[in-house]
């Protein structure tokens, strides 16, 4: 099936089989491997991207469902320029260890701040329930999101 999907500002026209998951389309057809596949069962959130402005686990949507939509992945944030404030904050607050959950964690955190620019620690933890980290214990991730909220005018 022909699909037209805008990813990080570029329109891509591709022929995909209907069972192709969006995350596979991003990683394998477009070689955007920043988006990770973790659990592949809609739980861990490492495949989180934004679709038409809303956070989505891209392992839980078919590429054909995204036909005509606008997708933002982790690669859209810096694009040869300065780091996004959320990326800077994860760096400064050491919000990662192995880094595997980080692209999804950052995309979910940006969506969280869009809906709630001044989250409390508890709201950050509730907002990131759909993203699992097996290294940090989350403490520094919460600190990073809090730091980013201040940087971003929150």
């Amino acid at each position: 099936m022909q699909v037209k999907i805008t990813v990080n500002g570029t329109l891509h026209e591709r022929d995909v089989t209907p069972r192709t998951l969006l995350v596979h389309f991003l990683r394998e057809d477009l070689a955007l491997t920043g988006t990770k596949i973790g659990c592949d069962t809609s739980q861990c959130g490492s495949c989180t991207v934004h679709l038409d402005g809303k956070a989505l686990k891209s392992c839980t949507m078919l590429a054909v469902q995204a036909d005509g939509s606008d997708v933002q992945t982790i690669e859209s944030l810096a694009q040869d320029g300065p780091l996004h404030p959320m990326q800077e904050s994860f760096w400064e607050k050491h919000g990662l260890q192995c880094g595997y959950c980080t692209p999804g964690m950052i995309m979910a955190s940006i969506a969280l701040l869009e809906n709630n620019p001044h989250p409390s620690d508890e709201e950050i933890r509730h907002g990131l329930e759909g993203n699992l980290c097996r290294c940090t214990g989350y403490q520094n991730i919460v600190a990073a999101v809090k730091n980013a909220s201040e940087k971003m005018g929150g």
Binding site: R19, A55, Q65, A108, G127, E129
Partner: protein, 285 residues
């Protein structure tokens, strides 16, 4: 993990979706896909054709009409949680929608898909049942309405017939009622091990009408007529709550489900505890 081979069609109207659904025995409707696609990846569902209804705008709106609040089948959990109308007319539904899954799941999962899937551990069926909701359904032979009480038939089974589609969910305006949904969440999945919703009409400190529904512990969302009759006419004091807890445990006996971590008798006991918590939460006490 890919689903099996499928065909995909994006429907441009409800009529077209019903037509395709009726013509293809192995077709499934696809809305948010957040129950169906995981099931397809695990081969628990292997439809031959997916009919994507997610672009049917007329099924997305939430509005108040007279003494009813009407929620389109494609309203997402996030949309319901944030809706001022739902917050004021059915606050327990707004709060339950806000704790379904996680941020990402709530953005895409829809109430119609959720009810059609009828997962016993999911939150919305219990709440829609406690609000005495009506499910509006369309099929090739026209439209019909089914009360939530008759809609949930068994584990993952509903009153939907082949070729039918949920269009809207209607709840009575309960803005004068006190209501709350509380749950014992599974610590990993956050699904309800036990979920209880109480909707109480009050006259001063006397409860004039009560509706109680239980999910998670049971194979489907079920009402507790015993607890409802104990609470109605009482002042919701400790002795009434103890009697209602005993009644709820007895009412759900025949529907109990359990697993290694949370056996039936534990869930049954917790249903009594969570009924009391639901009443306290509804009253803000």
């Amino acid at each position: 993990m890919y689903p099996t081979e499928i065909d995909y069609h994006r429907a441009s109207s409800i009529a077209e979706a019903i037509e395709l659904l009726s013509q293809n025995d192995d077709a499934k409707l696809l809305a948010g896909g957040h129950s169906l696609i995981p099931a397809m990846k695990l081969r628990l569902a292997q439809p031959g054709l997916l009919i994507d209804i997610s672009h049917l705008e007329e099924l997305k709106s939430i509005f108040v009409s007279g003494d009813k609040i009407s929620i389109g089948a494609l309203a997402t959990h996030a949309q319901i949680a944030a809706s001022a109308d739902v917050q004021s007319y059915a606050p327990a539904l707004a709060s339950a929608a806000g704790i379904v899954g996680d941020q990402q799941v709530r953005n895409w999962g829809t109430i119609g898909g959720n009810l059609a899937h009828a997962d016993p551990a999911s939150d919305p069926p219990t709440v829609v049942l406690a609000y005495d909701g009506v499910i509006h359904i369309q099929g090739q032979s026209g439209s019909r309405s089914v009360n939530a009480q008759d809609f949930f038939v068994d584990l993952f089974a509903t009153a939907l017939e082949p070729g039918e589609i949920i269009t809207r969910i209607e709840l009575s305006n309960s803005s004068s009622a006190k209501s709350a949904y509380v749950k014992l969440s599974h610590p990993a999945s956050r699904y309800a091990v036990v979920g209880v919703c109480a909707v109480l009409e009050m006259n001063g400190s006397t409860c004039t009408s009560a509706r109680v529904a239980v999910g998670g512990a049971t194979m489907k969302a079920v009402r507790s007529p015993g607890a409802e009759s104990v609470l109605t006419g009482s002042s919701l004091d400790d002795s009434a709550l103890n009697a209602a807890a005993a009644a709820v445990k007895s009412d759900i006996e025949e529907f109990l489900i359990g697993d290694m971590s949370y056996p039936e008798d534990y869930r049954q006991a917790m249903a009594g505890v969570y009924l009391k918590r639901a009443v306290h939460a509804a009253l803000g006490s």
